[in-house]
């Protein structure tokens, strides 16, 4: 009996040495995802017929999207302040979107370090082409799910 238990004790020793360092395989950028929708025959359908240009206010030279035909877009929010604005040029009609949010730091893993998690408090927008906006999920994290719906 004693021997059996002693062996059971020994078997576990390799477990102590099984910790290995692995490379970062997780996302550390939190991206806001917006879906564009339109009403057609009283049904909400994705708005795929608009060509858009998107860039951040103050970052005019750097477009997120250039003349693209998209029904969803992902936005990088500024991690250095609690708000940021984007210009959305859709078929030469310009709208401005401003996000107000709070920020938290989350350590993703030992290998990957930290990510910023955003919580959208409010969205201000112009109504040139946009009709309305609804916040589906205010938490912007590294899981990339639809956060906001814009209706044309």
């Amino acid at each position: 009996m004693k021997l059996k238990i002693f062996l059971l004790l020994i078997i576990l020793i390799p477990l102590l040495f099984s910790c290995k360092e692995s490379p970062c395989d997780l996302k550390t950028s939190s991206l806001l995802q917006i879906g564009f929708y339109t009403l057609k025959d009283k049904k909400v359908i994705p708005a795929i017929d608009s060509v858009v240009n998107i860039y951040g206010v103050g970052e005019e030279g750097k477009s997120l999207y250039t003349n693209e035909n998209i029904a969803t877009a992902v936005f990088t929010l500024s991690q250095n302040q609690d708000m940021c604005s984007f210009i959305i040029n859709s078929n030469d009609t310009i709208d401005t979107l401003t996000f107000h949010y709070t920020r938290q730091l989350k350590m993703i893993s030992k290998e990957c370090g930290f990510a910023t998690i955003f919580n959208i408090n409010s969205v201000n927008f112009s109504k040139n082409k946009f009709d309305s906006i609804s916040i589906i999920d205010p938490v912007v994290n590294t899981s990339y799910e639809e956060n906001i719906r814009i209706f044309f």
């Binding site: 009996m1 238990i5 950028s29 500024s78 030992k110 370090g113 910023t116």
Partner: protein, 213 residues
């Protein structure tokens, strides 16, 4: 040594079992330090057979973590923890002072610690990189823990044993950040559950004898 142990053993008819205070030291924490020098940890335990097969147990530990990743972050967590509970021995002793154990038990664990991070850098090619810190905060956490393992008396009063542990977080301090990354005695703070492992050596101090039928 084993002969001595047998000679000092009790006859089958003796029903008075020696009750000892068993002090344990978790040697797996030392090997952990060797393989993961960013983690320093110590853990001591104490248990005693107060009733037949029932061992109230306490564990006290210290954990210090300094994680560093060049150009990404420095993270520090330092604190104490304790777990209080009871083990039950399911192995029937072959003789009155036989000390082979298969134990299952439960613990309530709590930890008082602080954590901080500095030189945090998050890459952002669009708006510009983020550079920041998380200031030092005192935090606490508590959890329940289920224990299972083996223990055997190798030489008189000297024991060796291991346990596997499953932990479920009950609560942790809410702060402005989504941390802590590491809770001493529990594990990763972002998870609701964690697994643990102990590999300990023990010395038991004989105290008195009790009826053990």
């Amino acid at each position: 040594m084993l002969l001595l142990y047998s000679a000092a053993g009790f006859s089958q008819t003796d029903t008075n079992r020696t009750v000892s205070l068993r002090i344990g030291f978790d040697v797996s924490r030392l090997s952990l330090y060797y393989f993961q020098p960013e983690r320093k940890a110590l853990e001591f335990s104490g248990d005693m057979e107060l009733y037949k097969n029932v061992y109230p147990a306490i564990e006290i530990g210290w954990n210090n973590i300094a994680l560093k990743k060049d150009s990404l972050y420095n993270y520090y967590s330092n604190g104490l923890y304790s777990r209080i509970g009871v083990d039950y021995n399911f192995l029937k002793p072959e003789s009155i002072n036989d000390n082979e154990m298969f134990i299952m038990g439960i613990r309530y664990g709590f930890s008082l610690f602080n954590n901080l991070a500095n030189s945090i850098r998050i890459k952002d090619n669009y708006w510009g990189n983020f550079n920041g810190d998380i200031s030092r905060k005192s935090l606490s956490a508590h959890w329940v823990e289920f224990v299972a393992g083996f223990r055997t008396e190798l030489f008189k009063n000297f024991y060796l044993g291991w346990t596997l542990r499953g932990r479920m977080l009950l609560a942790k301090t809410k702060d402005n950040e989504t941390g802590p990354y590491w809770i001493p005695g529990f594990g990763k703070g972002s998870a609701k559950s964690a697994v643990g492992f102990n590999y300990s050596i023990f010395y038991s101090i004989p105290l008195y004898k009790m009826k053990h039928k």
